[in-house]
Amino acid sequence: MKDETIIRGQVHQDTIHDSAIKHVTGRADYTDDLAEPYGLLHAYLGLSQCAHGLITGMDFTETLAHPGVVGVLTAKDIPGVNDVSPNGKDDDPIFADGEVLFWGQPVFAVIAETRDGARRAAHKARITYDVLPHALDPLAARDAGMGYVTDPLTLKRGDADAGMAAAPHVIKGRFSIGGQDHFYLEGQIAMAVPGEDEDVTINVSTQHPSEVQHMVAHVLGCQNNAVVVNVRRMGGGFGGKETQMNLFSCVAAIAAKRWNRAVKIRPDRDDDMTATGKRHDFVVDYEVGFDDTGKIRAVRGDWYARCGFSADLSGPVTDRALFHCDNAYFYPDVRVSSHPMKTHTVSNTAFRGFGGPQGVIVAERMVEEIAYALGLDPLEVRKRNLYENGQLTPYHQEVNDQILPRIFEELEVSSDYHSRRQAVLDWNAKGGVIRKGIAITPVKFGISFTATWFNQAGALIHVYNDGSIALNHGGCEMGQGLNTKVAQVVAEAFQCDIGNIKITRTTTEKVPNTSATAASSGTDLNGMAALDAAEQIKARLVDFVAERWQQPKEEVRFVPGHIRAGDHEIPFREVIAAAYMARIHLSAAGFYKTPKIHWDRATGRGRPFYYYAYGAAVSEVSVDTLTGEYVIDRTDVIHDVGRSLNPAIDKGQVEGAFVQGAGWLTTEELWWDDKGRLRTHAPSTYKVPLASDRPRVFNVRLADWSEATERTIKRSKAVGEPPFMLGISVFEAINMAVASFSGYREHPRLDAPATPERVLLAIEKLRG
């Protein structure tokens, strides 16, 4: 029996990233590495130097005189519509037209023979403004009557007011939560190549090729079928390339059509960080009622978000903050509202977790507050409030796949939580300079786009007549290993070695109308679509083999490298060669849509999520109470990815998300000056974690016993976003170390990020 041999790259196995060797040798091509078409021009954006104002003049005399400059584009040069809003609100101009709404808003673009020339020339433009008042943060915007960029949402279940009134204890607080820059290592970039008629081809670092296609058609005033968008890989996305590259793609496309030459646009890091959206900052007013045992009775809250000047994705982001305001806990009576505030800042956008983290962290804050108020271990309060299967979320979805009790149980043992917590308390009791904290925080994260129609995907598989396979799907590779995992699904289906499968670039020419590779959904959706395509071809092959080798269809099986028909075992290649000669169709387009989900925003009810992914982390920190600096001593994670398609890749996602989440809450600080300028716009000023910031001991384990209860791809679960929120354990551990100065009687209420400065000033306050 040859079933004993296994193929390389089957599912549920560690398989290296399909580009790993290209990554380490520098041979993986990113958009800026592609061979440049002859005569390539470069575009560079000119950004506003005013947070809010009316443009009174634009003088490009010196810009146009700069050597190599071909021309300048402004709002009036856009052939179609001056808008790249992803939601049809028409509030997101490519170039400011008359009014600028944030410092750093694109006003024009310079086109020149070299990038350096375009960049220098852009800085020579003279734009003058009538400066108007600005409001930067959500509360200032509220006070200034700025209004919402999109409709707010309220979720409610039960009677929060009555529940609160009846609760034995009530705590109210305000929590300011900072945003976060994506700091994808590869910045925004697009290269447009003009074609005949209205055609244009865009090579771009994007998570959403179909949207780029639609946007470019929109601004050029042509049909979608004139635009082709390609992306082989991104050097990181994290949500920052879900909508933000639309503008760059459009500028390149407009210039390419206008001058009939290929045009590339790549902002420098400062402009990239200044002119593109980030994770939303929030100010949250929360109120929690609870009983003597720490059980939550009622929750009320208002989530004020810094959305920036336009809606972009702020609607679904602020919705998701509310969807996760419960994290893993049952709120008997609840009413929570979002306030997507318009501000004179860059329009904030998707970022790993998509508002979820800003909901989850408030749930954790409330739980911690309860524990401190009652003198309990916060873990106890957490456990007492965990959802039980059958309970309803604030959006009326029934939870029925709860596994956190088991995750907690295992984590408590594997991390030795209880004795380490005691050791931390004993350590702090000595009153030394270095204080410690330890916290265990869970995550329950809803998987699916809350915009139900996005939950669809397509794939295209060709089997060539030599038996090699070309795999294409609508998802984009940004480092998460999507292409590898989908290829494993196809390898498993055909029982052929993964090396036999060519993973090609994502292109709108092969799979149309795709959704963004976002919401952790890439593998769930595209894996299923690819499997559907594979199954179609397999079915044709089964019919063919059954007939050719005269066996019943039930006796035809795909085994490693072969197809078995009764006693015959024919190499896959031979079957394919024969099938081709027999005129069997060896190509198939697959499709998938997530079942069971529905969501009615008007009533705040539905089942927006197909399932939940779970996880928990314990982090212990040491804090230097003379400087506020800290170290993560140790982190233990158990995270649920269902039956992992590729444990090595999934573990990498968990580790990376954790560190990114910890960075959000510790050293990554966005800082605007009073003129509305973002002053932390490069790695010199915006501090993402380094190798020395990761936990000194870092034990990450997948909950290998978990299996998706729904029929997901091979019973795996999505992994991109959920573990991001495990970084909250670091934040709460720091809070505990600070709280040692008050005998843990009250939560120190650190705002996020807990920079050394915030930590020290909180300590000094408690020290008195």
Binding site: Y184, G235, V433, I649, T667, S692
Partner: protein, 483 residues
């Protein structure tokens, strides 16, 4: 005088005549040579995606070090061997052990930072075959990975270290051959120009003195860790530019003083600092990231007059002096007197820093502190150098200097007075901690508020006391976590 820039690129000779002062190595690699494995991530020397190795002749032979190609000027590569990721290979022509380990341990995700990380780890693997996790973290201070959380990268580096094979590595095997080629490239002054952007590479320090007599307004460029940003970030003209990174490399210890040529990099000085001022060694390894320490020089760190300054607070506390030269005239200045005001130093046109003299003060109690938002590779919010002499329990000499607290690195006069002549006791340091508040009026910015700077500055006096006293409890973070 020769009109050509000569260096080796991945083992092959390059000779260029049209080179401008502000041409960067990264643009040369990516645009001119289409060596696209080297990436641009930030163009300011902070993310490491552009890391390449530069091999250069030193007193210890040919040394390869990771540097940031984005802020490294092409002209500064004269006589060097530039090695990019495309040149890396294993003994069998396949993957290098570092690359193989990065693949095996899943050390890449999006892959964009990966070539830079591979090059930094290659540099470490070559120079420290026994590198442990802490060494690896230090080597990666200048490399950002946004995907992996670093864990698999550190594991890969440890595995590559265990795999060994340094002696058989291509750069080791070819070392003598390459060194000979580089030696041939050295010699007379090089003058280059492109589009009117002149670049001058003096033959030696006397030649530098002569060049600066002729061009007193020239931009002097040593490691370019600051000037590089003038070009890449601010698009400033820097021509005519005089490249001095290869000059003034002398280092010796004499009469209890470390004498460093102004062109000695932080990395080159590290061992001497560790040996003679051990209390400052940890601090030293927190200056910039590794790539920056391999380029940045102590002389230029002083000469450019940053209000923070990585080395000046420590050096002022130690009582360092600098030797300034103009033509064939020399003068010695106490470092604290060199800094006059924000952006203003005691340096005449055409004058340059030639030597830095650092008293080692083996009997003194010394400490150096750096407070920043992020531990590594961050611009300092507050830097401090402490140097106290204690005799019979009395503080007989107190020198405490701060960076980030004023427009220049500056001594804390009031706090010093509070220490001077007082018992070496907790109360004395409490008084000094309160006194330092009146010594400075710090600014608030994105790195830190004035309030935080003041609070930390005061607390550093408390910290100094605790570190010098046996309390039975750890007072430093790394002691508390056993790292």
């Amino acid at each position: 005088m020769t009109p050509a820039l000569r260096f080796l690129l991945n083992g092959r000779p390059v000779e260029l005549t049209a080179v401008g002062a502000s041409d960067t190595l990264l643009d040369f690699l990516r645009i001119d040579r289409r060596l696209t494995g080297t990436k641009e991530g930030c163009a300011e020397g902070d993310c490491g995606a552009c890391t390449v190795l530069v091999g250069r002749l030193t007193d210890d032979g040919l040394v390869y070090e990771p540097v940031n190609a984005c802020i490294r000027f092409l002209a500064s590569c004269h006589g060097c061997h530039v090695v990019t990721v495309e040149h890396l290979r294993g003994p069998d022509g396949g993957l290098h052990p570092i690359q193989a380990a990065m693949v095996e341990y899943h050390g890449s995700q999006c892959g964009f930072c990966t070539p830079g990380i591979v090059m930094a780890l290659y540099g470490l693997w070559m120079s420290n075959p026994d590198a442990g996790a802490t060494d690896i973290e230090t080597a990666l201070q200048g490399n950002i990975c946004r995907c992996t959380g670093y864990e698999p990268i550190v594991k890969a580096a440890l595995a590559a270290g265990r795999a060994g094979g340094q002696a058989a590595d291509a750069l080791a095997v070819e070392r003598e051959l390459v060194a000979a080629k580089l030696r041939d490239m050295r010699g007379e002054r090089v003058e280059l120009s492109k589009g009117g952007e002149r670049a001058i590479i003096p033959a030696d320090v006397d030649d530098l003195a002569a060049v600066l007599e002729d061009e007193p307004k020239a931009t002097i460029i040593a490691g370019a860790t600051d000037v590089g940003l003038w070009v890449t970030k601010f698009m400033r003209d820097i021509f005519p530019a005089v490249f001095i990174g290869h000059l003034m490399k002398g280092k010796r210890v004499e009469g209890g003083e470390i004498r460093l040529g102004a062109g000695v990099t932080y990395s080159e000085a590290a061992a001497l600092i560790g040996q003679h001022v051990p209390a400052a060694y940890d601090y030293w390894l927190r200056i910039g990231g590794w790539q920056v320490r391999n380029m940045g020089t102590i002389g230029a760190n002083i000469a450019n007059g940053s209000p923070i300054g990585d080395t000046p607070p420590l050096l002022i506390a130690l009582g360092a002096r600098i030797v300034l030269r103009k033509g064939n005239a020399w003068r010695e200045v106490a470092l604290e007197d060199f800094f006059i005001d924000y952006g203003k130093q005691d340096r005449a046109p055409g004058e340059f820093v030639e030597e830095v003299i650092i008293p080692t003060r083996p009997q003194a109690r010394i400490a150096a502190y750096k407070i920043s938002k992020r531990r590594d590779s961050d611009i300092t919010a507050v830097a401090a150098g402490f140097c106290l002499s204690v005799e019979n329990g009395i503080i007989s000499g107190a020198r405490v200097a701060f960076g980030g607290m004023a427009g220049i690195p500056k001594r804390a006069a009031g706090a010093e007075a509070a220490l001077q002549g007082q018992p070496f006791a907790r109360e004395t340091f409490e008084v000094a901690a309160r006194a330092v508040a009146d010594d400075f009026t710090p600014l608030s910015d994105w790195r830190a508020s004035a309030d935080y700077r003041r609070t930390v500055a005061a607390n550093l006096f408390r910290r100094f006391w605790l570190e010098q006293t046996e309390t039975g409890l750890p007072v430093r973070l790394h002691e508390a976590v056993g790292a």
